[in-house]
Amino acid sequence: MATTSKSSAPRKEGEGPAVSETARLGEREVASRAGEVHRQDEAPRQEEGLQTSEDLLRQDGWKLGDLELVSRVILGTARYPSRQVLLDALAAAGTQLVTVGIRRVDPAAGGAENLFQLLRQHGYHVLPNTAGCFTARDAVLTAQLAREALGTALIKVEVIGDEDTLLPDVEGLIEACRELVRLGFTVLPYTNDDPITAKKLEDLGCAAVMPLGAPIGSGLGIRNPHNIELIVSRARVPVIVDAGVGTASDVAVAFELGCDGVLLNTAVARARRPVAMAAAVRDAARAGRLAHAAGRVPRLFYAQASTPLAGRIGSAAPDTPSDSGR
């Protein structure tokens, strides 16, 4: 961190070393290196314009492959207390796209509702995953079975490295994605929060990248927001935080970091009140998208007074301690 020079003159408002941060201002990225002094008033402000927040949200559509979506929330279908709670939660979240697993049919389960039919009847798009696959070979076959079973080219690719962490096996993931891109799939890889890996996946033709916030089902939220922001800043495909979301604020943070979507399951399904949490997630997604579009203030090392100094009564401020030499 740069040292400020000793000076007898009072420090100007807002000066001081800024915390290393990437600040998005309008469409322009300003990367601050440690020690750079930020003068906030130099930052260009976007015209507020006549757009209301509802207008902004209404125009907030996006595409995954050929699929056009308005909702930025993708929900999983596992671990719900009942099918009815699942359906109610999906409706409360306003999601349009939901994930499913692919598993061997179980004759003993006869009479259980056909989940795929149920989801289609309620108008949801379905995104199959390759959960439980530990090798590229299994992931590729599972994807092919999913495409045949569900009639979609969309596939969430998971190649898992170990059973405790469920973290991706990057080597296997890249191999599987390369093959699935070659076979014409719309590949959405569940990956870690490493920007280099994310770039490799994008470059080999994935339709999005889906970095984890934290291990699947852990509810730990976004463990490395800096890396997520790095991934967002470099990606030319949608970035979807997938895994580890614990509560609504994690969803808002993901969107404030610039993510295009959030995929979550446990945070809603295992909440005490899944339908309430689903509604909270919907609101959090809106808040995060709006906050991102609004362009947040930069993070500062020192305070900057909100109330102007001019016209105040009373004594002057005490001497400010010098921070030189730190």
Binding site: R79, N114, L115, Q117, L145, L150, N265
Partner: protein
């Protein structure tokens, strides 16, 4: 002949088509079901023609809950 179906060995004593095998395993409408034999997809349109052969390793899957 002996085949494997979803990881379990099964003995088959007559000509058996994939369609019949699926019907024996899936109680309801097989919408959303897919079949692979020896690592290759057998599309639904071929379920009525494809016969199982000795040693075939068959996977019959469907969509289930997942995250």
């Amino acid at each position: 002949m002996t085949i494997r179906v979803n990881g379990e060995p099964r003995s088959v004593d007559r000509a058996l088509r994939i369609a019949e095998l699926v019907r024996s395993m899936v109680a309801d409408d097989p919408e959303g079901v897919a079949v692979a034999v020896n690592g290759e997809i057998v599309t639904r349109s071929r379920w009525h023609e494809r016969e199982v052969r000795d040693g075939d390793d068959i996977e019959i899957v469907r969509a289930t809950q997942g995250g």
